[in-house]
Symmetry: C2
DNA sequence: CATGAAGCTGAGGCTTCCCTCGACTTAGGT
DNA sequence: ACCTAAGTCGAGGGAAGCCTCAGCTTCATG
C-alpha cells in the first residue's frame, strides 16, 4: 500500500511550494479560490499542480488536518480547566479564533461541519472530547440542560457568517456576537425552547447537501 | 422624468413573465442564480431579458422592495404590542421567517444588511421603527441595555447562514438557534461584554465590501 | 556522462455564465 | 391594409475556471 516511491527532490520541493501557496491562497480567498492562482503563486505550472493534487479536495486533505489537530489540544485544555464553563467558553473562543484567521478553514467548517474526509480523522478525538466538555459544563450546572452537541453545528454556521462578513472591517465583531449567544447558554438564562435539536441524521443530510453544492 | 412611454402590450406581458420567473428562480437558487435560467423559465430570449432588466440589480430593485415593505407592517405590529419584549421577538421571528421562505432575500440580507439601493426606500421606515422597537424593549427593562441596533446586523448575518445551511433538511432549525440567542438578550442574562458594537461606519464598510464581492 | 524514468510545461478544449448587436417580427395607429 | 417604432431574438464574442496531454526538461542511478 505505502509502496509509493519517494518523490524526486525537485518534485518534493514543488509539492512544498504548492502547499505553502495553497495555504496562503485558501486562507485569503476562501475555499473556492481558483487553483490557477495557487499554481501561479507557487511559481509552478497548472499541470504540475494537478500532478500533485488531482482534486481540490486533495489540497484540503493535505492542509486542514494539521490545522484541525489544534482542536485536540484545545479540547484537552478545556477539559483540564477546573471550571467547566470556563473550559467550554475557552474552547469556543479558540475554535472561532482559528476560523477568523483563515477564510478557508472558516468556509470549510461553515459548509462541512461536522467535518468530512481526511480532516475528520485529524480532529476526531477533539470532537469526541467535545461531547465531554459539554457534558461536564452541564453537570456543573453552568450550561443549560437543553443544549445538545448538535447545537454547536448551528453555532458554527452562524458564527462563520459573522466572521466572513466582518473579517475586514471589524475582525473582532464575532466576539461580541458570541458573547450574546453564550449569555443565552447559561443555565440561569434558559427559557424553554419548542424546537428540538437537529437529529444526527439531519445533520448528516445538511453536510451532504452542502458538499454537493460545492 | 416620468415621461417614459407606456409599454407596448406584449412587452408588458414579457416584463411580467420575467418578474414572475425571477422571483421563483432567485427564491430557489439564491441571488446568484444565472439570468439565463430566468429567461428560459419566462419563455423569453436572453436579449429580451436584458431589454427589460439591464443589470441583475434592476431585478432586485423590482422584486425586493415589495417583499421588504412587509417589514414596515411587521414593525408597526411590533410597536403596537403591549409587551415590548414580545413585540421585539415577534419582529425578529417575522423577519427570519421571511428570509427562510426565500433564498434570494436571505442572500440579499446576508450580504447587504443594512439594505442598499431601491430596496432601501421600501423598508426604510421599517428600519427606523426598528430603533424604536429596540429602545422600547430596553426601557421596559426586558432587553439588555448594551444591545445596540447595529448588533441586529450581525444577528442577521448569523441567522442567514443557519437558514441557508439547514433550509432543506431542517427548515425550523433557525428557530432553535434564535431562541438561544434571544435568551442571551434578556436583561437578566446580561454579562458585561468587552467588545463594543460595530460603529455605523464599520457597518457601512462591511456592506460595501460585501457588495463588491458580488 | 549517458540514459530512462520521473516530472514539468502551457496551449488549448471544455463549460458556464455574462452581455451585445444586427436582423427580424409585430403591435397598433392611420 | 400598411407602415414604422417598439420590441424580440439568439448567435456569438468574452471572461473565468477547470482539466488534459503531447512534448520537453531534469533528476539520479549505473
Amino acid at each position: 500500500m505505502t509502496g509509493t516511491r519517494p518523490l524526486r527532490a525537485d518534485a518534493a520541493r514543488n509539492r512544498d511550494k504548492l502547499l505553502v501557496a495553497a495555504t496562503q491562497v485558501f486562507g485569503e480567498r476562501g475555499i473556492d479560490a481558483p487553483l490557477e492562482e495557487i499554481a501561479r503563486r507557487a511559481g509552478v505550472s497548472i499541470g504540475t499542480l494537478y500532478n500533485h493534487f488531482p482534486t481540490r479536495q486533495a489540497f484540503f486533505d493535505a492542509i486542514f488536518p494539521e490545522r484541525l489537530a489544534a482542536l485536540d489540544r484545545m479540547a484537552a485544555q478545556a477539559l483540564a480547566d477546573p471550571d467547566p464553563w470556563n473550559g467550554f467558553v475557552g474552547f469556543l473562543h479558540a475554535l472561532f479564533a482559528l476560523q477568523a484567521q483563515d477564510h478557508g478553514l472558516n468556509d470549510a467548517l461553515a459548509r462541512r461541519f461536522p467535518v468530512t474526509g481526511e480532516a475528520n480523522d485529524a480532529c476526531h478525538s477533539g470532537l469526541t472530547q467535545l461531547d465531554r466538555i459539554i457534558e461536564r459544563a452541564k453537570e456543573s450546572g453552568q450550561l443549560r440542560d437543553d443544549f445538545e452537541p448538535q447545537d454547536l453545528a448551528t453555532l458554527v454556521w452562524a458564527m462563520s457568517q459573522v466572521i466572513r462578513e466582518a473579517m475586514e472591517a471589524a475582525p473582532q465583531a464575532w466576539r461580541r456576537c458570541l458573547a450574546f449567544f453564550l449569555d443565552g447558554l447559561r443555565a440561569g438564562a434558559a427559557h424553554p425552547i419548542a424546537v428540538p435539536a437537529l437529529t444526527t441524521v439531519q445533520l448528516a443530510e445538511v453536510t451532504r447537501a452542502s458538499a454537493n453544492r460545492t
